[in-house]
Symmetry: C2
Subunit: 402 residues, 2 copies
């Protein structure tokens, strides 16, 4: 019951090909690749999760429809333009992206999932894109994962890809993934995209179950600034080429698959946080002893999203008073006199009061690039973890626009 | 039915005296006044609203108890130390503050309201404070409002005081107020304190009614960073010296009183926002056409608290895409294709899409130091306004601690 990390990203699993192209969508970076395509020539099942923002980008609307269909075999994603707040023309353009790639790969438009990331409120230069998309077949390679990973970058400073391998009944199974991060450059949104592939044998409902659980414990636990994008999308394709008996929920093999997928998504999520624009610190906020799961989440998110807490971290100031304050307004049920707070295991607050730890000890922890804040509310048994960052001068500079 | 602005702040109404003193609570600024007292030798009725943060400072707990009693005649407030997260010793110290001032003014401790603002998690230097508090009688003046206003400042750049005057049945009535703001300097909380006085004749329940309504449309509508302090407090004293028939809810005289009070609190709230540390822009976010009051509030607050929106404002970038995004995750019911957004009346978004206004026109608005964002959701009739600021490089620098 174990898995190992392997090379190859989304093309590590058998039968997947990927590639990238330049369409000139990014006006400021015309020579950076801006289109990625992932393709399985074999039949697949698909699962996906989308942003819960009520303002949904056109590709999110189109992909949500395509998710309902059978045998999705490709994903096309562009960077440089979010195709959000673009109305019916935007929907039409997202459909044209799917249709062009479909034509190139001999697929129906509904067999292609569509994603976009970048500028909001501007129409896609679809005329420039279609000729490139229509000839994508020749760009797809069985080692093309890194090209695709690079093409979906916006302000990311490094491409993000990972793959893991494990055995099910003597057959090697692989899961691969690429992601783009929460870096932000005007006027981009902090869109998170993640594409996952596997050669596991699994039915569509079981794949969706595994993906939803996995997203919940990874991408749904990261926060840079609390803003949620119009375009956030996670898509997973499974093509059954590993040939083991189908994975069924509740079996040890399914559990192994889930663990491997969770490891992969959690590590991609961490990469996204660490690569956030202007980020100087990576902080894990863990709340336990909460009265309910909802309370644990609220408490952790209030701390992780507090500008005052995050500015203090940026400055290397432990300032647990701001954490107490954020807990207090989080809505989580708590009794001040029961709260314990630890910085990398060092007690800062005991029973709601300053602990006897010398302030310099806490300063040492907050001076680190990575640390963990543990908060025990002592009113219940629920817990929740959020991965977050500091709030830096560079964050403001990078997001202040033109 | 009108009111005029007058000089004198909290000592403008008949019968109130105020003053300040130095106790040396602020280690970094030992020679700045750090204690304010407001006193009515005549009987008063009191009303108050406190922070809804579940972590409440000791003075908030003590003042909440004193609010239930009769004939409160004084307020004592210190800056430099929040007396929050200080346990039973903190409660004891807050009671000692009240008792010392009570002794000086020949009052019972429960006739004194107590407030603190400043550093969290440190015990008050009560031994230093008591001798000063015990001799406060001689420091109180009928023109002492400005002294009190200065003594409650933390990182505020200017003292905040206002007074208005109007007539009820031939008698002159005055309302005065002082406030301290949401400026933040490590490791202070963004505590908001406001003290109000009036010589109107009004019963305790009617005064509480008027104050609650007034706070709702003023201090509850300002946001710098969404963090809510452990110490936020608004207290109002009324001493009946103007001699008109008692103000009763629902009468024209009550309405006049309410309007005057609302004007005063709204202007004090504006001063607080404009004086926020690192603030370069004052922005009014007005949402109308929402499906419910709660939706209107959520939508306005999501926009006003979005770091991405606020960074864009700081940079003079209209970036309505970020506003659409914040509306989308606010939880307010909306249909993207119905949303209109205006910058100082200039259309930026029409039916969810970029309007035909040249981008430079929107840039001109956002280049101003004050502007209004109007958002019409077109799904209902509810509306809400929030007063907020940009998010600047200086905000981060001022809050990054030691």
């Amino acid at each position: 019951m174990s898995y190992t990390q392997v090379q190859g990203g989304i093309t590590a699993p058998r039968g997947f090909v990927a590639g990238s192209a330049y369409c000139g969508i990014k006006e400021s970076n015309p020579d950076r690749p801006d289109i990625a395509v992932i393709h399985s020539p074999q039949p697949t099942v698909v699962a996906a999760t989308f942003t819960t923002n009520r303002v949904k980008a056109a590709p999110v609307r189109v992909s949500s429809m395509h998710l309902r269909g059978e045998d999705v075999r490709a994903i096309v994603a562009n960077s440089g333009n979010a195709n959000a707040c673009t109305g019916l023309e935007g929907i039409e353009n997202a459909k044209r992206m799917a249709a062009s790639v479909g034509k190139a790969l001999d697929l129906k438009p509904r067999q292609v999932m569509v994603c976009s990331t970048g500028r909001i409120g501007v129409q896609l230069p679809i005329e420039k894109m279609e000729p490139v998309l229509a000839e994508f077949q020749e760009r797809l390679r069985p080692d093309g994962s890194m090209r695709a990973a690079k093409a979906i970058m916006t302000s990311d400073s490094f491409p993000k890809e990972l793959a893991v391998e494990f055995e099910v009944e003597g057959q090697t199974v692989r899961i691969g993934g690429i992601a783009k991060g929460a870096g932000m450059i005007d006027p981009n949104m902090a869109t998170m995209l993640c594409f996952l592939t596997t050669d596991a044998v699994i039915s569509k409902p079981h794949l969706q179950k595994a993906l939803s659980v996995s997203v919940e414990q990874s991408f749904n636990r990261i926060t840079i600034d609390g803003d949620m994008s119009t375009n956030d999308t996670v898509i997973m394709l499974a093509n059954s080429l590993s040939g083991h008996p189908p994975l069924k929920y509740g079996t040890p093999a399914f559990k192994l698959f889930q663990n491997a997928l969770d490891c992969l998504t959690r590590n991609l999520a961490r990469m996204i946080v660490e690569d956030g624009e202007g980020v100087t610190k990576f902080v894990e906020v863990h709340v336990n002893g909460a009265a309910s799961l909802n309370d644990a989440r609220r408490a952790a998110e209030a701390v992780a999203n507090s500008n005052l807490v995050k500015c203090a971290w940026f400055g290397g100031d432990p300032n647990w008073g701001r954490i107490m304050d954020a807990l207090g307004y989080s809505g989580a049920r708590l009794r001040e006199e029961l709260v314990d707070i630890f910085y990398d295991g060092v007690s800062a607050v005991k029973g709601g009061l300053a602990s006897k730890t010398p302030f310099s000890k806490l300063q040492e922890v907050v001076a680190e690039k990575k640390f963990t804040i543990n908060i025990d509310l002592h009113v219940g048994k629920a817990e929740h973890t959020v991965y977050t960052t500091d709030l830096s001068v560079d964050y403001v500079k990078l997001n202040m626009g033109e």
